[in-house]
C-alpha cells in the first residue's frame, strides 16, 4: 500500500519524538523523509527541493534543536511553510461590479473535468443568488455540448450551444444569449487542449479576446504528476488564467500538484472539486489543505458541512426529541444526515488523524455500517421505532431475520439507542431547569441545532465502526 504524505510525515516525526536534542543528522533524516513524501505526493521536483531547503534552514535554529519538543517544532515549521506555499489567503471569485453579464472562462487539459466543474460552478453561483448561463464552447470533443446540456438541465441552468465548428462564435453567441435571457454570469466551457498544441492554444486566446472574461479558471486534475509544472506554466503564459480549480480531490491523490501550481505560477487555488454531485465544489482553504496534507485534519470543514446540513427542520425535530424522547426514526434520520455530508469516509478523512485511521481500516472504510443500521431500523414496526423499549427477544430475532443481520448487531443498535436516549434525558433536564430564563433557552436551542445536525451520535458511530474504541 502506498504511503500517503501524512503517513510519511507522521512516521518521520514518530521517529524524532522522544529525542531530547536534535542533531543536524536528525534534521537531515527528517528532511529526507519529507522530500520522499512530497515527491510521492506528486509535488514537482524543483518545488520540493526549494521547500525542503527552506524548511531545513528554519529547523536549524537553536530554538528548535534545544527545545523540549523538537518534533513538534519541526511539524509547526513544515506546516507553516506548506500553508505559505499554498497561498496565505483564501481567494474567491472576483467579478467586476459594473458589468453584466460577468464572464468566467474555464480552460484545461483533456479529461481534467472542465465540463463537470462548469456545471458545479453554475450550481454554486445559482445558490448564491446569481443567474448563470453555461456556454458550451467545446466544439471538438464529440457530444461535449450534449453533456453540458444534460448537466445544465439537472441543475436548472440554461445552456447555450451554438452550432458549427467555431468556438469563438459560440462564445460570442453565449454572451448575447445571456443578455437576452437576463442572466448575470456566463460560464464559458472550452475544449480540453494540450499546452503544446499551438492551434488549440490560439483558439483559447481567441475566445479570451472576444469574451474578455472577468476570471479565467484553469481546471487541474489533482492526480497530475510532475508534468503539471509544464502545463500550468504554458497556460499561464498564453491565456494568463486567474486561478485554479483542483478536480478529483475525492480520490486518494494527495494533490501535491496544488503546491506546485501555486509555487510555479503564483496563481491561487480557488476551488476544490470533490465528487460527482453538483454541490461538491468547495472554496479552497490553504490552511486546511496544508493541515490535511500533514494529517492534522480538517475540523473546520466538518463543522461547516454540519451547519449546512442543519436546517430549520432539524431544529424542529430536535425540539420534538426533547419533548418526546429519542426514537429510532430520529436515529435513522441522523444516519441519513451523515450520508448527506458525504459519508463516513469523507468525514473521518477530515478529522485529525483520520487519514491514519482510514489506512488502519484497510482503506476500504465505506458506508456499509450505515446501510446495516438503516436496514435494521427499516425492519422494525412503526410502534417499535417510536418505543424501542418494547423490543423484546422475540422481536429482536424477527428484526435480525428481516434485515439479514445477527441478533448481536440488533442488540448493539439498541444499546446505542439507549445511550442516546440517556443523553437526551440529561438535556431535557437541563432544558427544564433553564426554562425560566430566556438566555438559557436560547443556549439550549443552539445546542440542539448542532445535535440535530448530526454530530454527537455520529462520532460515536464512527468510533464504534472501527471497533478499536478510538475516541474523538
Amino acid at each position: 500500500m502506498f504511503n500517503s504524505l501524512s503517513d510519511r510525515l507522521n512516521s518521520t516525526f514518530d521517529k524524532l519524538r522522544g529525542k531530547g536534542r536534535l542533531t543536524e543528522d536528525d534534521i537531515n533524516a527528517a528532511m529526507r523523509e519529507i522530500r520522499m513524501a512530497l515527491l510521492e505526493a506528486d509535488v514537482n521536483y524543483r518545488v520540493v527541493k526549494g521547500f525542503v531547503a527552506e524548511c531545513k534552514e528554519k529547523c536549524m535554529t537553536a530554538e528548535v534543536l534545544d527545545s523540549l519538543t523538537p518534533a513538534q517544532n519541526v511539524v509547526r515549521i513544515v506546516l507553516d511553510q506548506l500553508t505559505k506555499l499554498l497561498g496565505t489567503t483564501e481567494s474567491r471569485l472576483t467579478l467586476a461590479q459594473n458589468r453584466t453579464p460577468n464572464v468566467v472562462m474555464l480552460v484545461g487539459l483533456q479529461g481534467s473535468g472542465k465540463t463537470t466543474a462548469a456545471s458545479k460552478l453554475a450550481y454554486l453561483l445559482k445558490k448564491q443568488g446569481h443567474s448563470p448561463l453555461l456556454a458550451a464552447c467545446d466544439v471538438h470533443r464529440p457530444a461535449a455540448a450534449d453533456q453540458l446540456e444534460t448537466l445544465g438541465g439537472e441543475i436548472g441552468v440554461p445552456v447555450f450551444r451554438g452550432d458549427g465548428k467555431d468556438a469563438v462564435a459560440v462564445a460570442k453567441g453565449g454572451i448575447q444569449d445571456a443578455v437576452d435571457r437576463l442572466c448575470d454570469i456566463v460560464i464559458v466551457d472550452t475544449a480540453g487542449r494540450l499546452q503544446v498544441d499551438e492551434e488549440m492554444m490560439q483558439e483559447a486566446v481567441d475566445i479570451k479576446n472576444v469574451v474578455k472574461p472577468d476570471q479565467i479558471l484553469m481546471v487541474v486534475d489533482a492526480m497530475t504528476g510532475q508534468d503539471i509544472v509544464n502545463v500550468v506554466t504554458e497556460f499561464a503564459n498564453r491565456v494568463d488564467f486567474d486561478g485554479v480549480i483542483m478536480s478529483k480531490l475525492d480520490g486518494d491523490a494527495r494533490g501535491g500538484g496544488a503546491l506546485s501550481v501555486r509555487e510555479v505560477t503564483g496563481k491561487p487555488i480557488k476551488y476544490v472539486s470533490m465528487g460527482e454531485k453538483p454541490d461538491s465544489l468547495e472554496v479552497f482553504h490553504p490552511d486546511r489543505m496544508a493541515k490535511r496534507i500533514l494529517g492534522m485534519g480538517d475540523v473546520y470543514g466538518i463543522i461547516e458541512q454540519a451547519q449546512q446540513a442543519a436546517d430549520q427542520q432539524n431544529i424542529e425535530s430536535a425540539e420534538r426529541m426533547l419533548r418526546e424522547g429519542f426514537t429510532m426514526d430520529d436515529m435513522l434520520e441522523q444516519m441519513q444526515q451523515v450520508r448527506k455530508m458525504g459519508g463516513l469516509k469523507k468525514m473521518i478523512g477530515m478529522l485529525p488523524g483520520g487519514d491514519r485511521m482510514l489506512a488502519q481500516a484497510g482503506g476500504n472504510m465505506d458506508d456499509s455500517q450505515i446501510t446495516r443500521i438503516e436496514s435494521m431500523i427499516y425492519s422494525m414496526t412503526k410502534e417499535e421505532r417510536l418505543k424501542p423499549k418494547k423490543i423484546n427477544g422475540q422481536r429482536r430475532k424477527r428484526i435480525a431475520r428481516g434485515s439479514g443481520r445477527s441478533v448481536q448487531e440488533v442488540n448493539q443498535l439498541l444499546k446505542q439507542w439507549g445511550e442516546m436516549n440517556k443523553m437526551m434525558g440529561k438535556m431535557r433536564q437541563m432544558a427544564n431547569e433553564g426554562a425560566s430564563s430566556k438566555k438559557a433557552r436560547r443556549q439550549m436551542k443552539n445546542m440542539m441545532r448542532g445535535f440535530g445536525g448530526a454530530n454527537g451520535l455520529d462520532l460515536n458511530q464512527i468510533s464504534n465502526s472501527f471497533g478499536k474504541g478510538m475516541k474523538f
Binding site: F2, R35, M36, L39, E40, A41, D42, N44, Y45, L109, Q110, G111, S112, G113, T116, R141, P142, A143, A144, A145, D146, Q147, L148, E149, T150, L151, E154, L194, Q195, V196, D221, M223, T224, G225, Q226, D227, I228, N230, V231, K248, D250, G251, D252, A253, R254, G256, G257, G363, N364, D366
Partner: protein
Amino acid sequence: MGMFDRLKEGLSRSRQALNEVFYMGGEVDEDFWEDLEDRLVMGDMGAEVAMQVTDDLREQAARDGLTTAPKLREALVARLSREFATAERDPFDDTPSCVLFVGINGAGKTTTCGKLAGKAKDAGKVCILGAADTFRAAAIEQLEVWGERSDTQVITRERGVDPASVCYEVIQQAEKDSADLVLIDTAGRLHTSPELMRELAKVVKVTRKRANMPVSVVLVIDATTGQNGLNQAKEFNDALELDGIIVTKLDGTAKGGIAVAISHDLNLPIYRIGVGEGLDDLQTFDATSFSRALVGEE
C-alpha cells in the same frame, strides 16, 4: 512517418531532458548520477524506482566498466525496457476478442474505444461498440459519434440503466453478427469508491460469464498521472484482475513514467500508447522503442 518517429516526436520533450544529462560534457561523475536520478523522478517514475534504477545502473557501470555516456545510455535503455511486462496476446489483434475499458474519469476511455473501432474497421474486422457508460451525461452520444465516424455498430440503452445489462446485450448482438472484436466503454470512476468498484466488478463478471470469446479488462490511464496512478492500477487490478493497460495522452510533455511503475509492479503489459489525436497515433507498445525514445537514442 514511421511508428518510431511518431513515438519519438511524441516523447521529444522527455528525450531532450535526458539528453541534457548524457551530453553534458560526457563526464560521468557524482553530479551525473544525481542529475540522472532527478530526471527520472521528473518523469513520474516515482522516487523509489528512480533511485533503484540509478543505483542498479551505477553498480553495472562499475562492474562492466561503463565509463562513457553512450554506453551508459545503452545500459539504461536495456534496464528500463526490462521493467515492462510482455503481453502474451494482443486482445485487439488476436480476434475474436472482447475488451472492457475501465479507468478513472477523464482518462480517455471513450476516445480510445472509438479509435480502436476505427482501426479494426481498417483492418477489415467486424467490430461492435458497447456503450456501458450509462452514468456520465452524453457519454453514449459521444460513443455514437465515434461509431458513425468508423461506420461501426454501437449498442446503446438509455442513460441510467444497469451497465451489466448493456454488456449482456452487446455480447448477444456480437454473437448474432459473429463479430471479431467487441469494445465496451464503461463509466469512469475513482478507485476509492467501493460501491462503484463493486458495480464494475459485476459488469466484468457478467461479461466474462456471457461471452464465448476471451474477455480482457484494460485499464486506460492518462500519461500525465502522477504517483496516484499506481494506487489506481492496484485498486482496479484487485477488483477486476486487469489484463493490461493503455497509456493515453503521451503527446504532451508528460513522460508517462508511471507506466513503468505500473507495468513493473503489477506485471501488466501495455497494449497501446496514445501519442496524438489521429487514428494512427494509437500505437502498439514496444518496450525497447519506448525506452529508447525516453532516453533519447537516435
